[in-house]
């Protein structure tokens, strides 16, 4: 009993420590997780909106995270582990990108890394990720223009990845559903017609069907997507690049 308790306590300690190394994503889920207040609220919202729109139209998730410390990890390594933990991107497509920033402090260099999901390694090769960091991010960051650097980098990443994936899966699902309901409606109509033929006078039954069908259809079609639905289990293999300033 004593050992069991000790075990549990130890386990709690261990999981607690590793959880501190890598923060949990913010709740409610966002694509811009600024843990260091590097950006103003307005800048965060502008970025968030841009990246959410991109996610809605392409299903590719480009996430931005700032952390106060890398806890002794290499920037590349930290970014990969954090992205894997959060599951940036869609499961199966692995189309996530994490832009990680550890701001400069008085004693430490600033670090930046781009982790590229398995599914996007072709669209954003390491050399390109490195070039984005060297040519777009670092020069802006050196002048304390953090928003500009992140904004430029995400714009390029969006351009590079926009042809890679589409929301085809969702589209297909919706089509499948529409066809399915269509077939259902036809069958119901046939049944109603037949029942009319067989028993004239009992006209009230079919109208109930009509009512319930109408409700079902309108409910199905109005499932718009407002806000960010969260990370969806994308996986990372260590692709990307890093730099410091």
């Amino acid at each position: 009993m004593k050992y069991a308790l000790l075990h549990i306590l130890l386990w709690l300690c261990i999981t607690h420590v590793s959880a501190q190394d890598f923060p949990d994503p913010m709740v409610p889920p966002r694509l811009v997780n600024d843990y260091t207040q590097l950006l103003s609220k307005a800048e965060q919202n502008r970025l968030e909106e841009k990246l959410q729109n991109f996610n809605d139209t392409t299903s590719t998730q480009i996430s931005v995270a700032t952390v106060p410390s890398l806890n002794g990890y290499e920037a590349n390594d930290y970014a990969q582990r954090l992205a894997e933990k959060w599951g940036v991107g869609q499961q199966g497509k692995n189309n996530g990108i994490l832009l990680l920033v550890k701001p400069k402090t008085r004693t430490e260099k600033g670090q930046v890394a781009i982790a590229v999901g398995y599914g996007l390694e072709g669209a954003v090769p390491d050399a390109i990720a490195s070039r984005i960091i060297r040519n777009e991010i670092i020069p802006e960051f050196q002048n304390d223009r953090y928003y500009d650097g992140i904004n430029k980098a995400t714009n390029i990443l969006m351009k590079l990845t926009s042809g890679e994936y589409s929301t085809d899966q969702y589209g297909n699902d919706e089509w499948g559903e529409a066809i399915f309901t269509g077939i259902f409606v036809v069958i119901f109509l046939l049944i109603i017609l037949f029942s009319r033929f067989k028993s004239k006078g009992k006209g009230s039954g079919p109208f109930i069907f009509w009512g319930s069908l109408g409700g079902g259809l309108s409910g199905g079609s109005s499932s718009g997507n407002r806000g960010f639905g969260g990370f969806r289990g994308g996986s990372f293999g260590g692709g990307g690049a890093s730099g410091s300033w």
Partner: protein, 196 residues
């Protein structure tokens, strides 16, 4: 008469239970063993990627730093050695993985020496081609570290699974053997630093 039926049914039920348990554990092990093998090929792919990158890198450095003959030949030799030690998944065991670790480790240190000398050649450091090769090498070192870590995780689950009672009986019957880990002690678990 009736009793006989009950006994028969009981025997059949017990037999079916045992059969399905066997089937379940065997198929589970096959699946997990496949996962380990898949992850192993991921590790090998990344090592191969690094090997493929080296000739280009060596040639680029040669153009700027031809005085560094020894460092360059060290890398070429280490690469040749590493090319020879590739392990088939079926031959994967403690000894072979150790050998692979050693040859790849030698290659890693030869490479980091090469990267260190490039520090003293400003023209080389400014070369676009070299910068991209450097980024690719860093990315590859990273990928190797990640795939090794993932391999260790998969092997850990697999090993735990085939050693647990009573599944270890099935494992023993069908020759599922524990797979070796990559040792973290060599320091290769963390991607070597390619600093400039």
């Amino acid at each position: 008469m009736k009793k006989g039926y009950i006994v028969l049914i009981a025997i059949v039920v017990v037999f079916l239970c045992i059969f399905f348990w066997f089937k379940g554990s065997y198929n589970g092990m096959v699946q997990m063993s496949e996962k380990v093998s898949e992850q192993w090929s991921n590790v090998e792919n990344q090592y191969q990627r690094r090997l493929d990158l080296i000739p280009n890198l060596v040639n680029t450095v040669k153009g700027y730093a031809n005085h560094e003959e020894k460092t360059l030949t060290d890398v070429v030799n280490a690469r040749a050695k590493a090319t020879q030690t590739q392990i088939n998944f079926d031959n994967l065991n403690e000894a072979t993985i150790k050998k692979l670790n050693q040859t790849q480790g030698e290659l890693s240190s030869a490479l980091s020496r090469l990267m260190a000398i490039s520090e003293s050649y400003p023209d080389l450091k400014a070369n676009q081609n070299f910068l991209e090769l450097q980024a690719q090498l860093e990315g590859t070192e990273n990928r190797i570290a990640v795939e090794r870590r993932k391999f260790n995780e998969v092997v850990r689950t697999y090993n735990a699974d085939i050693r647990k009672f009573p599944r270890n009986i099935v494992a023993g019957m069908f020759g599922f053997t524990p797979k070796p880990y990559f040792e973290a002690t060599s320091g290769a678990e963390n991607a070597p630093k390619v600093e400039f």
